[in-house]
Symmetry: C2
Subunit: 315 residues, 2 copies
């Protein structure tokens, strides 16, 4: 069987694993992302991480076909270059990601590929997770941010400028307070991400007059669980905005299945139930039977999807 290294390069940590052609992670390792040190230092550390996995794979007699990377930022998947990234990873924008890794690892440039991490995440779930076996799937992740990816015939829809998937930056009727649009991290206002992300749920709790200490969304969920009416309202609004946004997208894209993932979906029924209720209420009748599935692969999804970029179809 063929194997590949999948890398999930995020703002705070970088995880990599050896993935089989069946989509299984055999073993993995994680390092901190050197997010203050620039592109060269990140490539050095990532190449060292990949090398150690390659060595381990070789000692076990596994043939490694290549390296796939799912990275934070806007990734030009054609050239393998980081088009832009936020200050969460200083100096990452402009980095020749695939060429830099290939040269450090002594690999053929064709053997290293990269996409944005949300697309890798969706590809992983589409290939070997919740959406395995489907012809098309829409994945939307609700956590610190809101992002998504539509996977059609095994290919994530990357977009002409590789910025496709910004599901969080779509207008939401829920993202208003006393008639004024709630500011969004993108600089706009009134967006899904401004009401449905984890930080947005915490901000809504404060904005609606919540007075108990709540450092983050987790704390607001705990308050809601204990019966705090304002916390219940903040969670309910965020979940309803999430479900409504996913349904609107489903009405347009008509995917075979929808996969919902991210830290908020991990909160279980208190978030999932109002999310799915709002989603179902918004679907067109023709989509009434649309499967809405929780993600299956957890943190491994982006590693698996990244590896898929350089693995030939298993069949």
């Amino acid at each position: 069987m063929q194997y590949a290294i999948g890398v999930d390069l995020g703002g705070t940590k970088t995880a990599a694993g050896v993935v089989s052609a069946a989509g299984e992670v055999l073993f993995s390792e994680t390092i901190p992302t050197l997010n203050r040190d620039g592109g060269g230092a990140i490539l050095d550390a990532t190449a060292a991480l990949v090398s150690s996995l390659v060595v381990r794979a070789q000692t076990e007699g596994l043939e490694v076909a290549g390296v796939g990377v799912g990275s934070a930022g806007v990734i030009d998947a054609g050239r393998g270059v980081v088009v832009s990234a936020t200050d969460a990873i200083l100096g990452w924008g402009g980095t020749a990601l695939t060429a830099g890794l290939a040269s450090r690892l002594g690999l053929d440039p064709e053997a290293v590929r990269a996409v944005n991490d949300v697309h890798a995440h969706a590809l992983g779930e589409a290939w070997a997770g919740a959406a395995a076996g489907t012809a098309s799937s829409l994945l939307v992740a609700f956590g610190t941010g809101v992002g998504g990816s539509f996977v059609l015939d095994g290919q994530p829809l990357l977009g002409h400028r590789y910025v496709g998937g910004h599901v969080g930056h779509v207008a939401s009727p829920y993202a208003f307070h006393e008639g004024v649009a709630v500011p969004c991290v993108c600089g706009g206002a009134g967006h899904v991400e401004a009401i449905a992300s984890g930080p947005a749920i915490r901000e809504a709790y404060v904005r609606l007059g919540g007075t108990s200490p709540a450092a983050d969304a987790r704390a607001v969920f705990a308050l809601a669980g204990a019966g705090d009416a304002i916390a219940i309202q903040a969670v309910g609004m965020g979940a309803a905005a999430a479900g409504q946004a996913v349904a609107g997208l489903a009405n347009i894209l008509d995917p075979e299945v929808v996969v919902v993932s991210g830290g908020l979906s991990d909160a279980g029924a208190p978030w999932w139930r109002p999310m799915e209720r709002a989603l179902r209420a918004e679907l067109l009748p023709a989509l009434a039977g649309l499967p809405v599935l929780p993600a299956k692969l957890g943190n491994a999804a982006a590693i698996v999807g990244a590896a898929r970029l350089v693995l030939t179809a298993p069949s």
Copy 2:
């Protein structure tokens, strides 16, 4: 050169034309759609229309490769069957569209293909209209309804159940009146179509307290042109809701270009300016240079796109 017949089968009329492999309509004819008489009668009339065009093409020495149909309703493009249609065309749902036409015309079943009319419209503009030469385009049409289609590498995204493109049935913050979601023709409420379609603009004028007689959107545009403040508000809201919705979709799909069409876009600057202003305000910075183009082919777009279904690439 190769030629094909393109058919645009709508609720009130059916137009068909002979289209060249360069995307030009050489000649066309229009008949009323027999929208009270059922699928068999509609197929008979459509086959007669196509036959007369084929005869005319043959007398001019043109080789007709096949027949493409863009039809109202949900069209299963794989089987060539009308999955469902509204009561605007009684008995159309369930009709074996391509097989029925092929047998009536004595053609090979493979020589007749069909898609929904909005997808045909978008394919026409992508192939030979405003988006010619692009790798991807998002077309959104604002008229009696709101519909759209994303064309990627020459293929409209039809959706798993062939219901993709329901751009009008997505939540819009503009589709509220005194805090209550405005009802939508789909049975839902608060959707883009409920505030941005032509009938919706007329309804908004009445709802906002407009007192001049206004039978339709055209009348509201005339009142706005004459300085009626409520008419200006109704048009502005509809246009802003349209632009915001298109931008939200662009943030997710990242098309090379956007094409805006439909009766409202034909109203020119009074609608286009507030639409484009709202659109640009909502785009992510990475999409700042996104071309937003008016459609070029007018009523011929769906004929051209339908013909494209059975024409090989002109190269």
